[in-house]
Amino acid sequence: MNNIKHRFEVIKAVALVTYKEWSAYRTHSMVSIFVGPVYFLVQYFIWNAVYGNQGAALHGLELEQMLRYYGAIALIGYLTMDFADWNLQMLVHSGKFLTFQLRPIHHRFFALSQKLGHRVLGFLFEFLPCFLIFQFIFKIDMIPKYLGFTIISILFAFFMNFYVNYCIGLSAFWLVQASGIRNVFQALSSVFSGALIPLVFFPDFIQKLLFFLPFQYTTYVPAMVFSGSYTLAGISMSIPQIVLLQGIILLLTIGLSEVLYRRAIYRFTAAGG
């Protein structure tokens, strides 16, 4: 019990300091109030042009559902955004990771607490304004069908994003300069997470493959839970089922991150930090 209390105190302290630190760059976060709606506007015209020509639903999605999907993708992105991979590879590359080895706290736990503080800022200065813009200016209904499951799914996506990125960052212990592998992962993620286009547009064999890769669990799954129905590769799941699957994949990812961390730490060398 004391351990849990202590951990909670650590999370609170690190998250608060990170929040204060990044609050100094509030305008940095607030750029999203411009960028998010502009990207959305581009999608708005693209899909209006496509549906205007097509008329019927595409892969079971009507125009309004498609626009809701892109709105949800943008908002979920603000809540789950992560750069743990960049941070970790920078610490390894520069040798500063050594300073974390001397602290009585696991680096991964510290990084997760930092992310928490950083995303609270994202919630206030990115999520809320953009939610209001989508809801009241674009007049897109941004209220999720199942609020409770949507919150759980976004929380899972939050942790999934972190643990996956942390695993990518750990590659720096082998490669020193891990930006190449980060770029590979980010390129794959941008395509296969569903941020670019709903995954049901992909060929069937890719859709099947995506069940076994981490990408859809960070973006497509929470966006579909938000929409109220989930289908991929012709498989429809109820919302509780897909959220449960997302939770299981998250647990596996946490396990993988632990195994990788234990192996990686043996490779660490630094010259003073």
Partner: protein, 260 residues
């Protein structure tokens, strides 16, 4: 002039040598940008693959627009993409003096020393899609090619102008690392047929912030769809570059260092 060419050549050599230091990383990065840019028109492919389309545009016509957009942004990243980050970093760290005391024009020096070979994959990927699209949309006449080259160059002018304007803001708005994202979002309007947008956006992206010149207008020249008002848009492009150069030179004078 000879001195400046020598400096640029040397900067390119250093950039390549620097990339070669972490060879595995560089090769991985180049391959992924090459592949990433061959599949970049994925949304277009998937939309047309599902039987839908942009009215009045074949898939290869849209791909042609997007490949030109990619080549243009790749070249921009390679030759002047590092300008913003480097200026920002120097101002934030208070080391811009080390640039100012060099016996060359500081704007040129920063452009030259930020040559980025890592964007080669983007240009190559764009070129592959460009050639595939051209094969499918038919032959262009010499006049069309000349129009294309002129408009493509104007697109680069817009991007250089924008890079300089963004870099110039660093002298007053320190640590504004997300400014390029704002430009990147607006630039997306140049990646699609302008006919899908409403009139105010077409006006904005043709004459105010002429991002239509990055992909759509040069592609229109090759497709024989060029209209007179697209040529008028050349003037805002030139003005944009001149404005960028002027603002950057003006803002440099406002730099307040702390000793370097």
């Amino acid at each position: 002039m000879k001195k400046y060419l020598m400096i640029y050549k040397e900067s390119m050599r250093v950039s390549i040598a620097s990339a070669a230091t972490y060879r595995a990383n560089f090769i991985l990065h180049s391959i992924i940008t090459l592949l990433g840019n061959i599949v970049f028109p994925l949304v277009t492919l998937l939309i047309y693959g599902s039987g839908a389309s942009f009215e009045g545009w074949s898939m290869y016509e849209v791909l042609l627009i997007q490949s030109i957009f990619t080549m243009s942004t790749g070249l921009s990243n390679m030759f002047f993409g590092g300008m913003v980050w480097n200026t920002m970093e120097h101002v934030r760290e208070g080391t811009f003096e080390t640039v100012l005391i060099k016996p060359v024009d500081c704007m040129f020096y920063l452009l030259a020393t930020n040559f980025g070979i890592h964007s080669f994959g983007v240009v190559a990927g764009g070129m592959v899609v460009f050639i595939i699209s051209l094969v499918h949309v038919g032959n262009a006449t010499i006049v069309m090619w000349l129009q294309f080259l002129l408009l493509f160059l104007m697109g680069l002018f817009v991007m250089l102008g924008m890079e300089l304007l963004m870099a110039a803001t660093s002298f007053k708005w320190v640590a504004n690392s997300r400014i390029p994202e704002m430009y990147g979002s607006v630039r997306q309007f140049g990646n699609y047929p302008q006919t899908i947008f409403n009139k105010s956006i077409i006006y904005l992206t043709s004459f105010i912030l002429p991002v239509g010149m990055i992909g759509f207008f040069p592609a229109s020249a090759l497709l024989g769809r060029l209209e007179w008002w697209m040529l008028v848009s050349i003037f805002p492009c030139i003005l944009f570059l001149m404005l960028g150069i002027w603002v950057y030179r003006y803002m440099v004078r406002l730099y307040e260092g702390v000793g370097g």
